[in-house]
């Protein structure tokens, strides 16, 4: 058999989960991470990251809208996916996806964004004509009360939502980790650390993503980058990354030390088929290098220009590293046989339903949605700095 080494069970010849399922935890991770960064400002009142607050919320929404698409594309019968809502199996981690997703989308993100933007929406409704007027009117639910007391009410409710939102974000991504971590048949996945590793890597990827997006939007808008803001974000990125890295190392050392029956198979896999994606891309380039860069920026005071370049580099490497991590979990977990006696290969197709092309399209799509959202609901204020409206109260 081409691509097969040693013995695999006959039915294992076909890899079940493709690159699309790699995208799924990557995208939901970005959602959870972006939201948690936004919550920092709201709940913990970190004023420095305020310029990214609304951008983070819109990014989370854009990615969340795309998150179910790779799953949907991958299903053998996409038309039956509604069954997840109709007859969810309470013992199945996957069945809860629909509900966790809807909760997060509707109750947390949409409501929070709506409350935060309501004043802007009403103002735009008043100022616009034609179709735009209809759209903004509908978004305001045809209620134009933006009196101070009404906005104060919105702000209180929004704060409460964020407080609910943080555990929801934890739930969203922790549960994605549980989908993998609860499969006892697969030793590469089966660890109680999986949800928490997923969660912290999600926070890391979300923060890195917003950092980069902030740089890009500043560049596109030709406004200066708010240095205290990016310095603070970089600091959070560094500390979140340290926790994430420690957890992953704990997992690795634990496996190395316990060396159970699956160890030889996994060890071999990491040293051969996963060497590039795991050792080189994930651990060295995607974790150690950005950690050193970020750590250095905490110790040494570089010039602004150097710092910006350093952050962009560290953020990009981080995103690549987290993507490699998702790849190594999802694809890596399927490259060895459950007999531990052999290995198979993942051959990525290109222009097929589960190929590289749809994966690329699905990775571009959130940015298109984000562009539309930004046009609809500009995250930056009206020339008076990047202050969200709710802070006035």
């Amino acid at each position: 058999m081409p691509g097969v080494e040693g013995f695999i069970y006959p039915n294992e010849l076909e890899l079940q989960w493709s690159v699309l399922i790699v995208l799924y935890p990557f995208i939901t991770g970005l959602v959870a991470g972006a939201f948690i960064l936004a919550s920092l400002e709201r709940v913990f009142n970190v004023q420095a990251v305020k310029p990214t607050y609304r951008l983070a919320l819109l990014t989370a929404l854009a990615f969340l809208l795309v998150a179910p698409l790779p799953l949907q594309l991958h299903l053998g019968h996409p038309e039956r996916s509604l069954e997840m809502y109709l007859t969810p199996h309470t013992q199945s981690a996957m069945a809860m996806f629909g509900f966790v997703y809807l909760w997060y989308l509707m109750v947390v993100l949409v409501l929070e964004i709506w409350l935060d933007y309501r004043r802007d929406i009403v103002l735009k409704w008043r100022a616009s004509t034609g179709f735009a007027r209809l759209l903004y009117g509908a978004m305001a639910l045809w209620s134009d009360n933006i009196s101070e007391s009404a906005l104060k009410l919105d702000d209180r409710l929004g704060r409460a939502l964020t407080v609910i939102g943080i555990p929801s974000a934890f739930l969203l991504h922790g549960y994605v980790g549980f989908i993998f971590g609860s499969i006892k048949a697969n030793p590469w996945w089966s660890t109680p650390l999986m949800p928490i590793v997923f969660l912290f890597s999600a926070i890391v990827s979300g923060i890195a993503c917003i950092l980069l997006l902030y740089f890009v939007t500043c560049w596109l808008r030709r406004v200066p980058v708010d240095m205290p803001c990016v310095d603070t974000i970089a600091k959070y990125l560094y500390y979140a990354f340290l926790v994430d890295f420690s957890l992953e190392m704990l997992d690795l050392i634990h496996r190395l030390y316990e060396a159970d029956e699956s160890f030889r198979a996994l060890d071999f896999m990491v040293k051969t088929r996963l060497f590039t994606s795991q050792i080189v891309l994930q651990i060295i380039l995607g974790t150690l290098v950005p950690l050193v860069l970020l750590g250095l920026s905490q110790l040494v005071t570089f010039r602004e220009k150097t710092r910006r370049a350093l952050y962009v580099l560290a953020g990009s490497l981080t995103l690549m590293g987290i993507f490699a991590m998702r790849w190594n979990v999802v694809i890596g977990g399927q490259l060895f046989s459950k007999s531990f006696l052999g290995y198979t290969t993942y051959k990525m197709e290109f222009a097929t339903r589960e190929g590289l092309l749809p994966a690329i399209v699905l990775m571009i799509l959130p940015f298109v949605i984000l562009g539309v959202l930004i046009r609809l609901l500009p995250p930056w204020g009206h020339g008076e700095g990047d202050r969200g409206t709710h802070a006035q109260g």
């Binding site: 809502y85 509707m106 409501l111 639910l141 045809w142 209620s143 009196s147 009404a150 009410l153 409710l157």
Partner: protein, 153 residues
């Protein structure tokens, strides 16, 4: 400043939207969940008869013997006593349903015999095996062995 009733209008409308959404979901669920779902467990009860409804392809030993008692008797005296008819003759439900119309193909004795009795180091040692090329380079096994009672007396 104390909020007035009018300050709640948009919130009430949003809550209304959510209520409509949740109601729509419940109605949809009520309409779309199969009626027999969840009676015996978390599945469609109808899936059980669905699994039972597949056509039978191998008729089963008992049905063959009903007509071919003579062969069964012959076989009963030899070492193939516990080898079912369809092990060698293949699936015969079509023949059992229509004994005259669906005549089964007679198995090629040599190929059929070899599929079990060709020597292999991995087979249990007590199992009778030969190297076909040495034991009988050519011709049919049936020339010497009666297939239903293979012992040469």
């Amino acid at each position: 400043m104390k909020p007035r009733a009018s300050d709640y209008v948009h919130l009430v409308r949003m809550a209304g939207l959510f209520a409509v959404g949740i109601t729509a979901f419940l109605v949809l669920r009520w309409l779309m969940v199969p009626a027999d779902f969840g009676e015996l467990g978390h599945y469609r009860t109808g899936a059980v008869p669905d699994n039972m409804a597949r056509p039978i392809v191998y008729a089963g030993q008992a049905v063959c013997v009903e007509c071919h008692a003579d062969v069964a008797e012959l076989r009963a005296r030899g070492k193939h006593v516990r080898v079912a008819c369809e092990s060698c003759h293949g699936a015969l439900a079509a023949h059992a349903s229509n004994p005259d119309g669906q005549k089964p193909v007679r198995p090629d004795p040599r190929r059929t015999c070899i599929s079990c009795h060709s020597a292999n180091i991995s087979k249990p040692k007590s199992f009778p095996q030969v190297v076909p090329e040495e034991h009988a380079p050519e011709g049919s096994c049936a020339a010497c062995h009666a297939v239903h009672n293979p012992k040469i007396s």
